[in-house]
């Protein structure tokens, strides 16, 4: 399967060439977001203190050691289940120009439609394998909204984050959702095989 390497900020053209299952490495600044900070942006109407045009956002809340005012070194930075943040996809793509959402577990068919429309991708990080990702960090440049610790907005510079697996592409593909649909289609046969009638 094709392998790609991009530097952030990302372009629509970068994203339009990807297909589900492709492997991607990312260099440059990636922003860590998740429940609390996205709730503040979208439900409380507070503008994020950073520019997300062309951004890659990673669903994360890291383990860090504080080294000075606003400065942190990474101890363990991984990813979290993306579906909890699914309802923010439209705003992130339409209002802020985000090009890639990184996380684990996939996003909904509705998010996949939006990604096709706006030219963005979902890049699947290997959940639970955070030790590997942590070594791909060059620096945590800044933490915004430290009152939400650990759910700050994290500005993290990576050297080759990945390999990430394209989970949602701009052509209507949604790998995790397709795998789950196939499992649902097989379910009544599987149940019959263990004596459970449909």
């Amino acid at each position: 399967m094709p392998e790609y390497r991009f530097k952030t900020p990302l372009t629509e053209a970068n994203m339009r060439q990807l297909r589900v299952g492709d492997s991607v490495l990312l260099d440059g600044v990636i922003f860590g977001v998740r429940d609390a900070n996205l709730i503040r942006v979208f439900d409380k109407g507070v503008n994020p203190p950073v520019d997300w045009q062309g951004a890659a956002l990673l669903h994360t809340a890291p383990n860090v050691r504080k080294t000075g005012p606003g400065k942190y070194e990474p101890l363990c930075v991984g990813t979290t289940t993306s579906m909890r943040m699914d309802r923010f996809t439209e705003g992130l793509l339409r209002d802020y120009g985000v090009r890639a959402i990184l996380g684990k577990g996939g996003l909904s068919p509705r998010s996949a439609e939006l990604m096709q429309q706006y030219g963005a991708c979902y890049l699947s990080v290997t959940g639970g394998a955070a030790a590997m990702e942590t070594l791909q960090i060059e620096e945590i440049e800044k933490a915004y909204w430290e009152d939400l610790m650990p759910e700050c907005i994290w500005q993290i510079r990576f050297n080759g984050l990945g390999p990430l697996t394209v989970g949602i592409d701009t052509h209507g593909g949604n790998l995790q959702s397709e795998v789950q649909d196939e499992a649902k289609n097989k379910l009544s046969d599987i149940l019959r095989s263990i004596g459970v009638p449909s």
Binding site: T81, G128, A131, M149, P163, L175, Q176, K186, L187, L191
Partner: protein
């Protein structure tokens, strides 16, 4: 056997160490199962995911790194030997302090917040957290503590239903299969699927969690339950959900069942899953303060 004052200090240190070590050392039975599962995958994406799992396991044990970022909800299963004489309130305090010290001293991310205001004390503790289960073992001089840092990806995929007797065994099988497929990628498969059968609603879910904490390779001692574990395990691995829900042959590492008797009108079933790392760490402490660590 009456414990000394120093016993409680020791328990505090042990609980600190259990929390930190559980996040770095994946249990050997789990490592072996992940490696076996990796060898059965044929698709490129599934093989890639398993290679990331194995690399991260090795970074944990060889480079002293946290394997996953999720420090979880701290859960302690404490078994008190019947011959021990100790102050249960001081024991609970020591467990809480050990949890707080792990968080401050390592440091670890505090993943614990108040449920409505979402206030984080940055200690991994709060009202009724850590979760501490107590049990008692006859004719024993030991205190055993099994610790689980329960990650939310899998914990959020917990399900419980008060089925009725007429739903029978088939109702249980259907509930389990539908919910494992419904959970899909979210609990970080391949998982250990813990199932509770019987009891009251609260006991049923506790049994499901206890089942998920059992080592791989263990079987329910009741042959009928062990048969159901095997049957559900094979069925779940027919779904094709695979590692990270990206497709593959291994969706569960095991199905474990724990059961209790129940009310004549009840047929409760609960599901509680462990993610692929299935973190757990055990310490056994004797009254004369010898500590042995295991899984």
């Amino acid at each position: 056997m009456e414990v000394r004052d120093s016993f409680y200090v020791l328990i505090e240190n042990v609980c600190r160490d259990l929390y930190i070590q559980s996040l770095k050392l994946i249990p050997p039975d789990v490592v072996a199962a992940i490696k076996r599962a990796a060898a059965t995958e044929t698709k490129e994406v599934a093989k890639r995911i398993f290679s990331h799992y194995i690399e991260s396991i090795e970074l944990g044990s060889n480079k002293d790194m946290l394997v996953c970022q999720d420090t979880g909800i701290p859960i302690y299963w404490v078994e008190i030997g019947g011959n021990l004489r100790l102050d249960g309130a001081r024991l609970s305090e020591a467990i809480v302090r050990g949890t707080e010290r792990a968080t401050k001293e390592h440091p670890l991310r505090s993943s614990i917040v108040s449920p409505i205001k979402r206030e984080n004390r940055q200690t991994s503790t709060g009202e009724r957290i850590p979760v501490i289960h107590f049990d008692f073992v006859a004719n024993s001089d030991e205190l055993s503590i099994l610790f689980m840092p329960k990650g939310s990806g899998s914990e959020n995929m917990s399900f419980m239903k008060m089925l009725v007797p007429a739903d029978g065994m088939n109702g249980i099988k259907r509930f389990v299969l539908e919910h494992v497929v419904g959970a899909g990628a979210k609990p970080c498969p391949p998982t250990i699927v813990g199932i509770g059968i019987g009891g009251s609603s609260d006991l049923c879910m506790t049994l499901a969690k206890k089942a998920s904490a059992r080592p791989l390779g263990s079987k329910n001692p009741d042959p009928e339950m062990a048969g159901l574990e095997e049957e559900l395990f094979n069925a779940i691995n027919q779904t094709g959900i695979g590692p990270q829900g990206l497709g593959g042959n291994t969706t569960a590492l095991a199905v474990h069942i724990e059961s209790a008797w129940t009310h004549i009108t009840c047929n409760p079933v609960a599901i509680n899953m462990q993610c692929w790392r299935a973190e757990r760490r055990r310490a056994t402490v004797t009254a004369d303060e010898k500590v042995e660590y295991g899984f």
